[in-house]
Point group: C2
Amino acid sequence: MSEPAYDLWYWPSIQGRGEFVRLFMAAADIAYCDRARSGDAQDLVEDMEQRTESGDFAPYAPPYLVERESGFAIAQVAHILAWLTDKHQLGTGDAATDLHLVQLQLTITDIVAEVHDTHHPVAGGLYYDDQKDAASKAAEAFREERIPKYLDHFEAALAVKAGPFMSGTNWSHVDTSLFQLVEGLRYAFPRRMTALAADYPALISCHDAVAQIDGVAKYVASQRRIAFNEDGIFRHYEELDDE
Amino acid sequence: MSEPAYDLWYWPSIQGRGEFVRLFMAAADIAYCDRARSGDAQDLVEDMEQRTESGDFAPYAPPYLVERESGFAIAQVAHILAWLTDKHQLGTGDAATDLHLVQLQLTITDIVAEVHDTHHPVAGGLYYDDQKDAASKAAEAFREERIPKYLDHFEAALAVKAGPFMSGTNWSHVDTSLFQLVEGLRYAFPRRMTALAADYPALISCHDAVAQIDGVAKYVASQRRIAFNEDGIFRHYEELDDE
């Protein structure tokens, strides 16, 4: 096996935003060295500091992907996925559709930030226990208003083509990210997602079709996929979930 | 004067996210019809509904830009700005730099969302008065931790090239957006921004240089630039500001 062309940098102990990059690379069978699995958080912090001090453009936050040959580093999930799609010629061949896919990926970025804010509505730097009252209200609004608004949008977009994927029979970065979004929402809000499941048949079909992509199935079954936990973006707190 | 090639759709009563698109188009002297100024909110709601029902990919939320000739619609500020940059050949000519600029624009997107959450930490659908306690704590954390973290990042990035702009002597979408970020933060948190000003000379220089771009100067002095207000993203609530 040849040396991987990329290093992926992210926090070691969570799936987090890094997981959207991992799932896409697993589906596309792109080899990379996962620096979150081969090192610890201190390695990441030092790499970030070194990049900031290097005098070149540095990532604001992980995840970021480094192309070994050129040393080029790229951050922001939607940006990484669009770049990999171009580089590995995984686009649809239709420029307008590819642009719409990036737009949808950026909308996934938005809901992922909102998921995080359900358990940390006041400040990311404070403990959950110090913002539980606000989190309770934030999670209620998220469950009742935001989840349906976003999922309605993705369901309508999935109806544009015949499916099971967003652009038809071939998967894209949007599909691997929708898979992770559904996985994460089911983990964090199992009662709410069970209650809503019947409203989103196309989204569930998309999720299930992504689960069967060879590289995704192998990755998800492997030790490399760490479990969701209460340090990540999608967290299960019993008191934040309801039908 | 020829017919504009674009329609920009956004909420009529605020600068909001639409303003980042307006400032870029003003700087680049790209003609467009501002549908937020020629119509009301109901027109926007109806256009959004019609797009969702059309069976094509629709925006999740405004702002979105429509290319009149093709009917192609694109949403998400960073995505619109990257697309316009390519289309109007306003890139730097260096692919890696252009990608870094998009990455920086996406980081501006992140801080803009956090600014909004200072006055609406619990839920966008609730009134400010119903989340004032949480907002007070959220704004404190934003002022003390998040503003410096983001502005340190932009200041370091501005040091990569000689300036005054992010990629050197030519402005890009990142510069027009940093101008608006500084304008908005000064409006919302005047005491905090005054206290911090000396720490960010490159950012302030960039802001001041953008203000002198011919199209920006004309736009900002015109009636088309509506004032910041307490329905927008950057809001001034006396109780949320402090040194």
